[in-house]
């Protein structure tokens, strides 16, 4: 089972490889990927440098081209594919059907992975991608229970990748327009959710307020932990009841599922967080490497160490973690 780690810049990439990643995924410095943030991602020489470092260490490089091409600008997405192939990437992670079609026709020899943003949650949809684009892998959205993942893994003609750790998207990825509804910009169209330029913090009589494009997302009392106002993780009011109506600030952590994921034959476990620091990548990669190696050494008595959980919780939103949709009760 591959450990696939995120890298938003070269130091993070180097750290991921040095701390045990089997593969790293990166994006281009434009809106062709879903972490289109200022100061992040790779272009020109940096791309070659990234590929060199990964390949010198015998590891793999995946390139995420996982937003949807705009009319009149499809060349930008095609160029992203061309550039990724030019640096010798090992896999293209693609969300847009049109971009997949381009990659499959022009570079049939380069592995294509269906991005989580393509929202592929069932066998018939997997077959669509397999038959039309001969994809080598499908990344599953974070909406399936572990039983559902198992069922899919048993029957899928294509190897599967699942999310293992990181910020928790609670909606079926690629099918969430909440961000553009509030700001005009979404992961699909712009490559960002709840973009930072719409965020405003304000001290008021009622507490510290976080707003996204003027909409009040949350208000914190003194001593409360204030998190980034991702719009699905704020406190809202439903019939006079104020609570986290969609989700609490929390991260996904599936260390406990390692034995099951192995048993199912999951091809890869993915760490979220290209927007995070090299320090984050270092700690998550190292912890997951340790856990995976421990399992391989003695699969029968694998136990999650509390130190691993503490390390990961400290890197998490609201310093708490969840099994998310894998655990039926969460749903």
């Amino acid at each position: 089972m591959e450990l696939l780690c995120p890298a938003g810049n070269f130091p993070a990439l180097k750290t991921a490889i040095d701390n045990g990643a089997d593969a790293v995924y990166i994006g281009m410095k434009n809106d062709t990927n879903a972490r289109h943030f200022a100061g992040l991602n790779f272009n020109d020489k940096k791309l070659f440098k990234a590929a060199d470092y990964v390949h010198q260490h015998g590891k793999k490089l995946h390139v995420a081209i996982n937003t949807f091409a705009h009319p009149g600008a499809q060349q930008r997405w095609q160029k992203a594919v061309d550039d990724a192939v030019a640096i010798g990437c090992d896999a293209l992670i693609i969300a847009d059907i049109g971009v997949l079609d381009y990659a499959a026709n022009k570079y049939p020899h380069v592995e294509r992975h269906v991005s989580v943003q393509a929202s592929t949650t069932n066998l018939a949809a997997i077959k669509f991608y397999q038959q039309n684009f001969e994809v080598a892998r499908v990344v599953l959205p974070r909406v399936l229970s572990i039983q559902q993942v198992r069922q899919l893994a048993q029957n899928s003609p294509v190897p599967l990748e699942v999310f293992a750790f990181g910020s928790l998207c609670i909606m079926s990825e690629g099918r969430c327009y909440l961000s553009s509804y509030m700001t005009g910009e979404s992961p699909n169209t712009v490559g960002a959710c709840s973009p930072a330029k719409y965020v405003r913090w304000q001290e008021t009589d009622k507490g510290l307020e976080s707003r996204l494009n003027n909409v009040l997302i949350d208000r914190y009392q003194q001593g409360e932990n204030a998190g980034y106002p991702t719009l699905c993780k704020g406190r809202f009011e439903v019939d006079n009841n104020i609570y986290h109506a969609l989700e609490e600030p929390t991260s996904l952590n599936t260390l406990a599922l390692i034995p099951e994921l192995f048993k199912m034959g999951i091809a890869s476990v993915k760490i979220e967080g290209r927007q995070r620091s090299p320090a984050y990548v270092e700690q998550v990669a190292r912890t997951w490497r340790m856990a995976l190696d421990r399992f391989l050494q003695s699969p029968d008595d694998f136990q999650v160490e509390s130190a691993w959980m503490t390390t990961l919780a400290n890197l998490s939103e609201g310093t708490q973690t969840t099994l998310g949709a894998y655990h039926r009760k969460w749903q």
């Binding site: 066998l123 969430c176 494009n213 909409v215 009040l216 109506a245």
Partner: protein, 293 residues
């Protein structure tokens, strides 16, 4: 230009559904979509009931009747139900997931690409056309400009006459789908014990900001826009750019009157000032969806 009645996205009791479609039969809609698109646990009408209702509507009216299918399918059982709908042998099917596209393509039958399928550009349109797409409903987050440019490209590529274009034009917009049921959560129940509580909220459950701003509507596993989308003032522009169908998404019987009002725009366009406390049209104008221009 034609007008369609989209599938009801809410969970209504069976008799209410039947009454609604009795009225819809006499409405100004040219096309009626029906079927469960949100949650497979909603079984006031089972697949066979939806098919029976759809077939009776088809035999009693001249309207085109379309079976709409689920958006988020997570289990083999859900695929089985969808297979039955896709193999109904008579009615056109709206695919809201690529699984339905795959099933229709395997049968070599034409289908509608619903608004929940991510078709954003010409290259994708061309792939879906090859699969059998006969109509494309634009994703709700896209703008009039986006559409205009895409349709020009389709024209230049000589494929514009190979499919119809439909625009979601009125109603609460479906914005997101989750494994989690937010209506059950709002009643403090786990999804496995939801007691089908969304039937108690025939227009969904409002989720406001702590300042009382209407942000979203909770509709089971679906999150909808807090305001109703209203493109009534854009009908002439849509007509000009070659949109074939405007969709009215019902929240109640009042949606049927909306179809009449929208159709009247073709004869003599009036300007309807929108109510910023209840309505929005931002997406069409390339700004935040919840805004009003």
């Amino acid at each position: 230009m034609k007008f369609s009645l989209g599938p009801s996205l809410f969970f209504w009791p069976k008799n209410q559904v039947e009454e609604f479609y009795q009225q819809a039969k006499h409405s100004d809609a040219d096309i009626i979509y029906l079927g469960e698109t949100v949650c497979s646990k909603r079984r006031e009408l089972k697949a066979k009931d939806w098919l029976a209702l759809a077939k009776s509507l088809a035999s009693e009216t001249n309207k085109q009747i379309v079976i709409s299918t689920m958006t988020l399918l997570e289990s083999p059982a859900e695929l089985q139900v969808m297979k039955r709908l896709c193999e109904n042998g008579e009615l056109l099917v709206e695919a809201n997931d690529l699984s339905a596209v795959q099933m229709m393509a395997e049968q070599k039958l034409p289908f509608v690409v619903g608004p929940a399928i991510n078709c954003y550009n010409l290259a994708t349109l061309k792939v879906l056309l090859k699969q059998g797409m006969m109509r494309w409903v634009m994703p709700v987050e896209l703008s009039g400009d986006w559409l205009k440019q895409l349709l020009i490209e389709a024209e230049q590529d000589n494929i514009r006459d190979k499919f119809e274009v439909e625009v979601f034009s009125w109603g609460y917009m479906p914005l997101a789908y989750s494994a989690r049921c937010f209506t059950a959560r709002s009643e403090n129940r786990p999804k496995d014990d939801c007691q089908y509580c969304c039937i108690n909220y025939p227009q969904g459950r409002r989720m406001n900001s702590r300042e009382g701003e209407r942000v979203f509507v909770l509709n089971g596993i679906q999150t909808m826009s807090g305001y109703q989308y209203n493109l009534i003032n854009e009908i002439p522009a849509m007509q000009q750019m070659g949109v074939d169908i405007a969709r009215i998404s019902p929240d109640s019987e009042q949606a049927l009157q909306k179809i009449t009002a929208f159709r009247a725009q073709l004869e003599q366009a009036k300007n309807y000032p929108l109510d910023g406390q209840e309505e929005c049209n931002g997406y069409w104008h390339k700004i935040a969806g919840m805004s009003v221009v």
